[in-house]
Amino acid sequence: MREEAHLVVEDVRKLYGEVVALDGVSLAVGATDYVVLLGPSGSGKTTLLSVIGGFAFPSAGRITIAGKDVTALGPAVRPTTTVFQDYALFPHMTVAGNVGFGLRIRGVAGTEQRRRVGAALEMVGLTGFDRRGIHELSGGQRQRVALARALVVEPQILLLDEPLGALDLNLRRQMQDELLDLQRRTGRSFVHVTHDQEEAMALASLIVVMNKGRIEDLGPPQRVYARPATRFAATFMGESTQFEGRVAERASGQCLLVETPVGHLPVTGNLEAGSQVTIILRPENIRAEAGGEIALGEARVREAVFQGAHYRVLASRQSPAQDFVLRLPPQAVIEPGMALKLSCAAGDLVLLQR
C-alpha cells in the first residue's frame, strides 16, 4: 500500500528550553496520503506540524519533501501551506483578496489570477463570494476560504491545524467529507492535526498516534484501531477491555499462552515465558454468549448506557477481579446485576508488552 515516500521526517527533536516537545520523531508519508497526527494536548502533534511547515525549526533531525532537504527553509519557500486553527484570514481583505494573496506574491497576473481564485472558490463551494468581507462570513465559510487560500498556490503538502475544532458537530461531519473529497480531487498529501480519534479515523489513510513528543503508533486507521502497537495507542483510539497477565508458556512457534484473571488466553506474539503483558480486546469483539471460540467466563452488568446504535455495557467479575466493556445491540434487554456469559474470537485478542 505504501507508495514512495514524499515527506520524510527523520529523527526530529525539538526542545523549547528544557521542555522536550518532539523526542526523536520519524515518519514517511506518500504523495497522496491523508495523514492525521492524533494525540492529546501536549503530545507534540502541533509542534510536528509547525516543524513540517517551517514555523519552528527542529533542534535535531532532518525533513525532506520530494527528495529535497527543507530542514532549514522558512515557511515562505517550502512547498507547504497551512490552514490555521483560527483560520488567520486577512481581516482587511475581501474573500477574493485573501484567496489571491499567494498568487499575487508569486506574481500571477490579473486574468490568470482571477481565473484561479474563481476555480479555488468553486472547489470549496464559495462561488460568488469574491467581494464579501471576512466579517460577513460564518465559521464554516471562513474555514472554506482558508482552505481555498492555502490550496490555490498548489502546495505539495497541505497542513491543517485542528481545522474543524471550532465547528459544531454536523458541520464538522460535513467538512470531513469535503476535506476527503478535496484531498482526492487535488491528489495532494494532507497532514491534519486533531485530538479527536473519530475525526482521525474518518479522514486518515495514515494515522500517527503521538504522546509526549513520541510516535506511539503509525499505520492505516483499521490496523491502528484493531491492533494498536502500544497501550497508549489502544486507549487513545477507543475503549477496550484490558487483561493484565504473564506469558505462561510458549506453545508452538508464535503462539503464546498468557495467564490472565479469566484463564489462559492464546495469543500470537514472540515473547519469553514470564514476560508481563496486557491483552486488549475492543468492546465490539466481545460476544455476550457462551458459543465463542474463547470463553471469558461470566460477568455481572454494572451499568448499561443506551447510545442509540448500541448499548455500552460495563460488566465485572470478582475473584479474580476483571472489568469488561462491551457493546450490545439496542434491542437487547439489559439490567444492572444481570449475569452475562462472555466469549470472543482468538484473532481479536491483541498482545501488548508492558
Binding site: G54, P75, V77, F84, A88, L89, F101, G102, A150
Partner: protein, 265 residues
C-alpha cells in the same frame, strides 16, 4: 445609616459642587481665551463687545502667524510620520523577535517619555551646535520624534497580539517576505491604531513650545510665534491664534478617541 438619611442628597450636592469647581478651574481659562478671541475691542478683557471675527481675520492676515502655522504643519506632519514609522518598526521588532537585552532595549525606547522637554530641548541645541548644525525646523522635528516616538511605539505594541501573529504567519506561509508582511498585512490590520498614533503625535507636536523655542531661530512654529506676540502685550489676536490651535488639537483628539474606542469594542 440614620445620620446619612437625614439630608438625602447632601453628599451628592457637595460632590457636584466639587466637580463643578474642578471643571471650572480647568476650563474657565480656555472659555475666557476662546470668548475674548471673538472680542471686537482692542483688549482681551471685559467688557466683552462682539462677537466679531475681526481678530481671526487679523490672525490670518498676519505674516508671522501664517508662517508659524505652515511651519507647525510641516514639523507636526513630518515628525509624526517619522514617529509612527519608527515606533511601528520598533514595536514589530519587540513583539515578534526574541533577542538578548530585549527588555532593556524596550525600556530605552520608552525612556524619553520620562525625560523633561527642557532637557531634551537643551540637549538637542547643544548637540546640534557641537555637530556644527545651526538651529532649524529639522532640529525641532528630531526633538519631536524623540518625545513622540515612544508613544507611537506603545500604541503599536499594544495592537500586535497573538491573533496578528498568526495572520502574519499565514501570509509568510503563502510566500510573503518580511517587508511584504509588514506593509500589506500588519500595517493595514492595525491601521486605526497607526492613524490614532499619528494624530496623537501631531497634537503633541502642534502645541509643543519648549523644544521648538530652544531650537529655532528665524523659522518658528506657531506656539513660538504666539509666545513672542505675548511679549509685546496681550491682544485678542493671540487669543484668536490660541483658539485656533486649540480647535485643531480638539479635532485631532476626537479622531484619536473614535479610532481607539472603535478598536476596543
Amino acid at each position: 445609616m440614620i445620620g446619612r438619611l437625614r439630608w438625602p442628597g447632601a453628599g451628592t450636592a457637595l460632590g457636584a459642587l466639587y466637580m463643578a469647581l474642578c471643571y471650572g478651574f480647568i476650563f474657565l481659562p480656555v472659555i475666557v481665551l476662546v470668548l475674548f478671541s471673538f472680542q471686537s475691542g482692542d483688549l482681551p478683557a471685559p467688557p466683552f463687545n462682539g462677537p466679531s471675527l475681526r481678530w481671526y481675520q487679523a490672525a490670518f492676515a498676519d505674516g508671522r502667524l501664517v508662517d508659524g502655522f505652515t511651519n507647525s504643519l510641516l514639523v507636526g506632519g513630518s515628525s509624526s510620520a517619522l514617529s509612527v514609522l519608527l515606533g511601528f518598526f520598533a514595536a514589530y521588532g519587540i513583539a515578534r523577535y526574541e533577542f538578548p537585552l530585549k527588555r532593556a532595549i524596550q525600556a530605552i525606547v520608552i525612556l524619553p517619555l520620562a525625560v523633561s522637554y527642557l532637557l531634551i530641548g537643551m540637549g538637542l541645541l547643544v548637540s546640534a551646535s557641537w555637530l556644527g548644525f545651526s538651529p532649524s525646523l529639522s532640529t525641532v522635528v528630531i526633538g519631536h520624534v524623540v518625545v513622540n516616538m515612544p508613544l507611537a511605539f506603545v500604541i503599536c505594541l499594544a495592537q500586535l497580539g497573538e491573533h496578528q501573529r498568526r495572520v502574519e504567519a499565514a501570509a509568510r506561509d503563502l510566500g510573503a517576505s518580511t517587508f511584504r508582511v509588514l506593509f500589506s498585512i500588519t500595517a493595514p490590520m492595525i491601521a486605526p491604531a497607526l492613524i490614532a498614533a499619528f494624530c496623537l503625535c501631531f497634537t503633541l507636536s502642534w502645541d509643543e513650545t519648549l523644544i521648538a523655542l530652544l531650537n529655532t531661530r528665524f523659522d518658528v512654529t506657531l506656539p513660538v510665534v504666539i509666545l513672542s506676540l505675548l511679549r509685546g502685550g496681550v491682544s485678542p489676536l493671540t487669543n484668536a491664534a490660541g483658539s485656533f490651535i486649540f480647535l485643531c488639537s480638539i479635532l485631532l483628539m476626537v479622531v484619536v478617541e473614535l479610532l481607539l474606542l472603535r478598536q476596543r469594542r
